[in-house]
């Protein structure tokens, strides 16, 4: 049986100049959806609408069959959020070290490790950092890392907190070839485990799996 994780019905946003109009799609378990559209077509706005961070003008959003309400996203993890052409809001504190950032993240979100002891959580963080080859810079502050490394720190949240749905804003922008391979690997692993992924990208992305396209 397939679970419908996210359903979007005739969603519109923007008033005088609609950003997008009547977008409908659904995302099920083990599915990947690619939101496509040029610059300014409202890709980020769509993601923000889906997560209740921006008010839609009309249309309905259902997560796991329930109507969208604020603060109900134990199931989704949102990363990326493009601020302008160069910078991405990765949700990282620049003056904190990689490890401190991830500890903060673990303590302030609902996850399976909340009740675990400090050492267990520390081990899990180390595991994830090793997987993303960040262990060497674990105690460096985020502002000292390269932008590719910063992105990987932000991606490590995906592994730390096993959310069912990943919502990724422009995950392939400003990432080197190695990073693309890494991310593709993460996505396909997540899908194999039954997860779903929704991502935006203005370019074609060829993942080694079937991807549903949502054109804006």
């Amino acid at each position: 049986m397939s679970i419908t994780r996210l359903q979007v019905d005739r969603l519109s946003a923007g008033y005088e100049r609609p950003l997008f109009r009547d977008v409908s799609f659904s995302l099920e378990a083990q599915q990947v959806a690619h939101v496509m559209g040029g610059n300014g077509s409202g890709k980020t706005t769509l993601l923000n609408c889906l997560l209740g961070l921006f008010p839609a003008t009309s249309g309905d959003i259902y997560w796991n069959g329930f109507e969208l309400r604020a603060n109900a996203f134990d199931a989704a993890l949102y990363l990326g959020e493009q601020v302008n052409a160069q910078s991405y809001a990765l949700g990282l504190k620049n003056a904190l070290s990689v490890r401190e950032n991830l500890q903060l993240y673990l303590s302030t979100t609902a996850n399976a490790l909340q009740a675990a002891s400090q050492t267990v959580r520390q081990q899990r963080i180390d595991q994830v950092l090793e997987q993303l080859s960040l262990l060497a810079v674990a105690n460096k502050r985020c502002e000292q890392l390269s932008s590719g490394q910063q992105r990987r720190v932000s991606l490590s949240k995906l592994l730390l907190n096993p959310c069912a749905v990943w919502v990724l804003d422009e995950p392939f922008a400003a990432v080197d070839k190695q990073g693309v391979v890494l991310l593709e690997g993460l996505i396909s692993q997540h899908v194999e485990k039954g997860g779903s992924v929704l991502f935006t990208s203005h370019q074609d992305v060829s993942l080694g799996m079937s991807v549903r396209t949502v054109q804006l």
Binding site: A13, G14, Y15, E16, P55
Partner: protein, 251 residues
Amino acid sequence: MKVPQFIHLLGSPPWFYRISGQLMPVLGLLACALLIVAWVWGLGFAPEDAKQGNSYRIIYLHVPTAVIALAGYYVMAFTGLVYLVWRIQLMALMLKSAALIGAAMTFLALFSGAVWGKPTWGTWWVWDARITSMLILFFLYLGVLGIINAFSGSKTSQQAGVKAASILALVGTVNIPIIYKSVDWWFSLHQPATLKLTGKSNIDGSMLTPLLIAIVGCYVFYAFMLLWRTRIELQSSEHNKQWLRDAVSKK
């Protein structure tokens, strides 16, 4: 939450447009009649004040505007509350109107107070409790207007601005009694009570009746202005809607 019937009706711009169109002439005429009666009575027929002579007569402008200025803040906060709870667009327009009219009324009260102060106290401005509270109220209104102005741009941003203004107005509502009491206590510490010339206890009945009529007249005038401003806001925000074109062409 279940929306009460009358609030549901308020959510319908065509209904508001029609009803306000019918109400406005009535309110306008009533306000004119009441204010003319009050002011002719107050300025021409009420007795002269023993201490202040004729200069006290500005009370018939000063007190009503001051009363409305304060009441208007609560009207504004109430529209804000309704907007936050039920997201009725009309309430957003009404909040904007209430902020503007309220600020104007507060300014009028301050100005008439200054004009009154010159012959009475020999100075345009005195830091007494009432005036200071009125000045702070003016700042509170300006804050709400400032927030609305700062969130200009797209309509989504404007809506966020009205929500922000509503929250500010509600916080202000809790604060106003505290501010009034504090200021009152503070200035009563070191000022003789003789400065309190507007105290209602020492006003004669023959002066009081026109004052009360002026206050009622000013309330009606406020209601008229509120409907009028809101209609103007409605016309500009819904200018491309069919019902508005129909309503205008019917005239």
